[in-house]
C-alpha cells in the first residue's frame, strides 16, 4: 500500500482532474463571483472614492461567500458507490481529508487569483504592498479550504450545498477580518504582522482539527 502522502496526492489529483473535466469552478463559480463584484456598485452607487474605499472589503467578502461554493461543488459530491469504493480501498481517512483539502486549496487559489484583477478594475483600488498580498492570498485559500472541507465532511449528505456555507461563514470571520485589516494596513502603512500570525494560527488549528476528526467522521455513516 502506498504511503499516506502518496494516497493524499493521488486523491487530490483525482479531484482536480474531475474538476478540470467538468470545469465548474472556472466556468461557473468564477463568473458568479465576478458578477457579484459587479452587482455591488450598481447597488451602492458608482461614486469613485466610495468604491475605492470598499473595494478590498468587497473582494474579500466575495472570496469568502462564493469561495465556499468551491468546496461544495458538484464534482466534489460523492455518491454512495464512490464512498464504498474508497472505503474498500483501505484509504486512510486523514489522507482523504488532506487530498481533498489540497485540491480545494489549489482551486481556491485560482479563484482568488482570477477575481483579483476584476476587483482591481471595477473598484479602481491601488494594490499597495503587493508582495505581502501574495502571502495573504494563499493563507486565506488554505484556511477557507480547510474549513470548507471539514464542514463538508461534517455535513455530508445533509443538504450540504446550503448547510456548509452556513457553518463556514460565521466561523470564517477571523479570516475576513485579518485579510481586510492586512489589505487596509498595507495601504496606510500600519503593522500587519499580528494579523498575518492570526491567519497562520487559524490555518494550523484547522489542519489539526481536520486530520484528527477525519477517521471518526468517516466511521459515522449509515
Amino acid at each position: 500500500m502506498p504511503s499516506f502522502w502518496r494516497q493524499a496526492i493521488e486523491l487530490g489529483r483525482k479531484d482536480l482532474r474531475t474538476e478540470v473535466r467538468s470545469g465548474e469552478v472556472l466556468m461557473i463559480t468564477v463568473p458568479f463571483g465576478a458578477a457579484a463584484l459587479m452587482l455591488i456598485p450598481l447597488a451602492v452607487g458608482t461614486d469613485a472614492p466610495l468604491l475605492e474605499r470598499i473595494g478590498p472589503g468587497m473582494y474579500w467578502s466575495v472570496v469568502l461567500l462564493f469561495g465556499v461554493l468551491v468546496t461544495v461543488r458538484q464534482s466534489a459530491v460523492e455518491g454512495q458507490a464512490q464512498e464504498d469504493l474508497l472505503g474498500l480501498l483501505g484509504v486512510d481517512a486523514a489522507a482523504r481529508f488532506a487530498g481533498r483539502a489540497g485540491a480545494n486549496f489549489l482551486l481556491l487559489l485560482l479563484f482568488e487569483a482570477l477575481l483579483a484583477p476584476v476587483a482591481l478594475a471595477l473598484y479602481d483600488t491601488d494594490p499597495a504592498g503587493f508582495w505581502w498580498l501574495l502571502a495573504v492570498i494563499p493563507l486565506v485559500a488554505a484556511g477557507l479550504s480547510l474549513l470548507g472541507t471539514l464542514a463538508a465532511s461534517i455535513a455530508r449528505s445533509v443538504a450540504s450545498s446550503t448547510l456548509v456555507p452556513l457553518i463556514v461563514v460565521p466561523l470564517a470571520v477571523p479570516m475576513l477580518l485579518a485579510a481586510t485589516q492586512i489589505t487596509e494596513g498595507l495601504r496606510i502603512q500600519a503593522t500587519i504582522l499580528g494579523w498575518l500570525l492570526l491567519l497562520v494560527v487559524m490555518d494550523l488549528l484547522l489542519a489539526v482539527a481536520g486530520v484528527l476528526s477525519a477517521r471518526p467522521l468517516q466511521e459515522a455513516t449509515r
Partner: protein, 221 residues
C-alpha cells in the same frame, strides 16, 4: 478446518428507525459460492454492505475474513482491500475515462499502472478505454468494474445484481471472476434475481425473507 470467510451470527441492521435485517445468521466457507435471493426490499443489498464491513450491524456480531464486525476499526481496515464489491450503481467517477478510473485504483493500491490497459483489454474494453465513464452504457461500466476486480484479485467477491445489463459475453466474465475467487481459496456472495443464470455458478442458494435467512436452503441440485 479453515476459518469461515464470512461468519455472521444474529445480525440486526437498522437504518434510522427502520429495521432491515433481523436475527440473520450466515456463514460462507473458503472456496464456497453462495447465491443470495429474495424479493425486492428484502435486504440483500444491505446484507452485502454489512459483509463488506461498510455498514456496522446494530446488533449481533460476526467476522469477515477474520476481522470482527464490531469493535475498533483497525482489523476491518486491514481486510478491506481483500474485498471486492460491485454494487447496484457503478462505482466509477463519471468525468474520468475508464482507463483513468482503473488507473486511480491501481495507484491507490500500489499496483503498476502498466497493468491497466491489459486488464481493460481482458474484459473487452481495450478500445473503449479512452471514453468518459459518463458516456458509457451501464453494461460497459459494469465491465469496467469487473476490470477493477481482475486488477485487485479480491479474496471475497460480493456481486449485487451481477448480471444486470450484461450481454452474454460479459456474463461469462462473472463466471470467470467467481472461479478465480474460488481457486484462491476465497469465497463469493452473488445476488441475482435471475436464478437460472447464477445456478451454474453457485454451490447453494440462501433466501432472505423477513430480514433473515429463510429456513429453506436450496442447493444447486
Amino acid at each position: 478446518m479453515l476459518q469461515d470467510i464470512v461468519d455472521l451470527k444474529g445480525i440486526a441492521v437498522r437504518i434510522g428507525d427502520t429495521p432491515i435485517l433481523r436475527n440473520l445468521t450466515l456463514s460462507v466457507a473458503p472456496g464456497e459460492v453462495v447465491g443470495l435471493i429474495g424479493s425486492n426490499g428484502s435486504g440483500k443489498t444491505t446484507l452485502l454492505r454489512v459483509v463488506a464491513t461498510l455498514l456496522p450491524p446494530s446488533e449481533g456480531d460476526g467476522t469477515v475474513l477474520g476481522a470482527p464486525l464490531r469493535g475498533t476499526g483497525e482489523e476491518r481496515y486491514a481486510v478491506r482491500p481483500r474485498i471486492g464489491l460491485i454494487g447496484h450503481v457503478p462505482g466509477l467517477y463519471p468525468n474520468l475515462t475508464l482507463e483513468e478510473n482503473i488507473a486511480f485504483i491501481a495507484r491507490m493500491r500500489g499496483i503498476p499502472v502498466s497493468e491497466v490497459p491489459l486488464v481493460l483489454d481482458r474484459v473487452g474494453l481495450g478500445l473503449a478505454r479512452g471514453r468518459k465513464a459518463a458516456h458509457c452504457s451501464h453494461g460497459m461500466q459494469r465491465r469496467a468494474e469487473f476490470a477493477r476486480l481482475v486488477l485487485t484479485k479480491p479474496d471475497l467477491l460480493l456481486l449485487d445484481e451481477a448480471h444486470a445489463g450484461l450481454d452474454p459475453q460479459a456474463a461469462d466474465l462473472v463466471a470467470a471472476l467467481v472461479a478465480g475467487a474460488r481457486s484462491r481459496g476465497g469465497a463469493a456472495l452473488v445476488v441475482s434475481h435471475e436464478h437460472a443464470r447464477i445456478a451454474p455458478l453457485v454451490d447453494r442458494f440462501v433466501e432472505l425473507r423477513a430480514g433473515a435467512v429463510a429456513d429453506t436452503e436450496w442447493s444447486r441440485t
